[in-house]
Amino acid sequence: MWPVIVLLVGPVLAGLSSLVIQRARLLHAVNFTTMVALAVAETLLTRQVLADGSVTTLGTLVYVDALSDFILIIITAIGLSCSLYMWSYMDEQVARGVIAPKHLGIFFFLFHMFLFAMVAATMANSLGVQWVAVEGTTLATTFLIAFFRRKESLEAGWKYLILCSVGIALALFGVVLTYYSSVRVLGDASSALNVTELIGVADRLDPNVLKLAFLFILVGYGTKVGLVPMHTWLPDAYTEAPAPVAAMLAGVLETVAVYTVLRSKALVDQALPPQFTGNLLLTFGFVSFVVASLFILLQHNYKRLFAYSSIEHMGLAMLGFGVGGLVGTFGGLFHLLNHALAKALAFFVAGNIHRRYDSLEIDQVRGLARSQPITAVATLVAGFALIGLPPFSPFVSELLVVSALSAQNFASDTMHVGRFVAVTVSDEMRSLGLVGVFLFFGVVLFGGMMARIGAMVWGTPQDGITRGEACTVGHVPVLAMIVALVGLSVMIPESLRTLVTRAVHVIVVR
C-alpha cells in the first residue's frame, strides 16, 4: 500500500511545492529527490506484484498487475533520467534567457502534474478514472509544449489540445459504451467500470456493444498514441516542446496511451474472437509504420525526424499486439520499453545539439563528432537503436514482432491487412507478403535515418561553433540509456522477463 501512496502523492507534493520554491537549485533538488523516491517505491511495488500477482489497494481505486507495473517501470525510469537531464538543460536555458527564472517553478509544477496524471492513469482500477487521468495528461502537457511561447509553440500546443481533446472525447464515449454493457451484467453501478470486476464477467458482455466501444476507444486513445491518420499533432508538439518534455511525451505518454488500449483489448478479446481487435490493431499499426517511414524521408528537422520515428515505432508495437499470441505480445511490450529508452536518448541528444547549434535544421548541424564527442556517440547509438540494428535492444523486440508476423496464420473469413498485400494466395504467402512489405519499408527507414544522422555527426563544424564538451549532470542519463540499450539486447534480467511474461498473460486471455 505504501509504495502506491508514494507514487501517487509524491508528484502532487513535488508539484505544489515547486510553485512556492524560488531558488532553481532547490527546485532541481526537490524534483530529483521525488523521482528517486518514486523509483524506490516502484521497485518495492514490483517486488510485491511479482510475489502476489497483483495489488489492489485504497479501497478498490488502485489496481496494479504485471501489465500496469511494467508500464510504471517505464514511467519512473524515464522520469528519473529526465529529472537528471533537466538539471543541466533547464539551468542553461535560464542562463541563456530563453526561460524566465520565475517560470521555472511553473514548469516543474506542470511536469509533476503530468507525471501524476500518467501514474494515475496506469494504476486506476476504474476505466472511467483512467479516462479522467489521460485527459489530465493532455491538460498538463499543452502548456509544457507551448512553454517557449513562440508563435510556433503556441500553434503546436493549441493543435495538441484540440486534437487530443477530441480524440479523448471519443474515447469517453467508448468507455460509456463499455459501462453500458457491463452495468447490465454486474448490476452494481459504482464498480461496473473496475478492471477487477470486468475481468471476471467480460465473456458475458454484449459483443455488439463491445465492438463499438473498442472502435471508439482505439480511435480516441489512438490519437494520443499518434497512430496514422490521427497523428497530425505529434510532429509539431515534439518539435516545439523543450527536449526533456519531448522525451517524456515520446517515451512515456505514448506508452501509457498504448496501455489504455491494451486494457480494453484484454476485455474485448474475452467476448469476441481476438481477430477483431487484432485486425484493427494490425491495420492501424501497418499504416502508421508505412506512412511514418515515408515521411522520415522528407524531414529536414532532426526533432521532427525523431517524432516520425515515434509514430513508426508505435505502429510496430501495434503490429506486435495485433498479431497477438505470446511471441507477438511479448515483442510488443518489450518494444515499448526499448522505444522509450531509445527515444528519450534521442530527445536528450536533440536538446544537446539544439543548445550548441541553435538550430533544429539538419543542414545547420555539421561535425558533431568534433564539437560534441559524447553527444555524437549518443546520436549514433540512438539512430542505430531506432532503426533496429544490433547490438541494441530494439533489434531484439523488432525481431520478435517480425517473427510473430511471419508465423501468423490469417483466418481467411476476416478482414485484415493481408488482403491489401496478396488477395488470392495462400495464408503463408500472405504473411510472407506482409513481412516483405514490412521489411521493404524497414530498409526505406534505414536509409532515411542513417543519411540524416550521418550528415550531422561527420564533417567539420561551422565557424563559430564551440568545440569540446564538458561533462555535466545531463550526461549521466545519456550514458545510462546507452548502457541500458546495449545491456537489454544481450540479456533481459530474470525478474523483468517474469514480469513481462505475466503482463503478456494479462493481455492474451485465450
Binding site: V132, R149, W158, A192
Partner: protein
C-alpha cells in the same frame, strides 16, 4: 408499459431532441456570442434531461451531475467564453471551411448515421431512455463536425463542449450516469480544459493578432 413511464419516456425524448435541435442552431449560427448562448441553452436542456431521469428513476446521484452541469456548463464556461469574445475584435465568423447550408445537410446525414450505428445496441437499453443513446451519438458527431467546419478558436471550443454534452447525454441515457467519482473527474477536466482554452485564445490573439486558426500555418510539412 405503464402510463407514467410512457409519459416520462416521452419527456426525456423531448428534452434529448431539444438538445439535438440546439446543435443544429449552433451549426447555423455565425455570431460567436450567439453560439455561446446556444451552448448554454443546450447545457440547460442537458441538465433538465438529467434531472428528469433522476426524478423518474430515483437515482439520486444524477441530481449531483445535473447541478454541476448547470454550474459549470450553463454559468461558468459560457461566461469565460463571453469574456474571451469581448476581448476579440471579431463578433461574426464570415468564412467557414464548409458553408452553413451544406453544413446543415451534412449534420442531417450524421444523425442518420448515428441512428444506423447504434441500431444493434439500442434494444439493450433501459426503456426510459432508449432513443437518447442514438441522439447522444448524433450530438457527438455534430460537435466533431463543428470543430472541423469552423475556423475560430472559440467556436472550436464550443464544438468540443458540444461533444462533451453528447457524451454526457450518452452516460445518462445508457447507464443512468457513471460512478460519481468518474463524473466529478470528467467535470473537473472539462472545466480545466475550458480555462486552458481561454488562456490560449489570449496568447494566440497576442501572438497572431487573430484567433482564426487558419492563421496557424507556421508549422507545415
Amino acid at each position: 408499459m405503464s402510463e407514467s413511464t410512457q409519459l416520462g419516456s416521452q419527456l426525456v425524448d423531448l428534452c434529448s431532441v431539444l438538445l439535438l435541435l440546439s446543435c443544429f442552431a449552433i451549426v447555423a449560427q455565425r455570431r460567436l456570442s450567439a453560439c455561446v448562448d446556444l451552448f448554454a441553452l443546450q447545457s440547460f436542456f442537458l441538465a433538465t434531461t438529467a434531472a428528469l431521469v433522476a426524478f423518474l428513476t430515483g437515482h439520486r446521484h444524477i441530481y449531483v451531475a445535473a447541478v454541476l452541469t448547470v454550474v459549470i456548463k450553463v454559468i461558468v464556461l459560457p461566461r469565460i467564453l463571453r469574456k474571451v469574445i469581448e476581448r476579440l475584435n471579431v463578433s461574426r465568423e464570415l468564412v467557414m471551411n464548409i458553408n452553413i447550408p451544406a453544413g446543415l445537410l451534412i449534420c442531417g446525414g450524421l444523425v442518420v448515421v448515428a441512428f444506423f450505428i447504434t441500431q444493434p445496441i439500442i434494444p439493450l437499453g433501459y426503456l426510459l431512455t432508449r432513443d437518447s443513446l442514438a441522439l447522444a451519438l448524433a450530438i457527438i458527431l455534430i460537435g466533431l463536425f463543428t470543430m472541423i467546419a469552423r475556423k475560430k478558436a472559440v467556436t472550436q471550443m464550443v464544438g468540443f463542449l458540444v461533444m462533451e454534452n453528447g457524451v454526457f447525454l450518452g452516460t445518462t441515457a445508457a447507464a443512468y450516469g457513471m460512478p460519481l467519482i468518474v463524473e466529478l473527474g470528467v467535470f473537473f477536466d472539462v472545466l480545466v480544459a475550458g480555462l486552458i482554452a481561454g488562456i490560449y485564445t489570449h496568447r494566440l490573439q497576442d501572438a497572431f493578432d487573430s484567433v482564426d486558426t487558419s492563421e496557424l500555418t507556421v508549422l507545415k510539412e
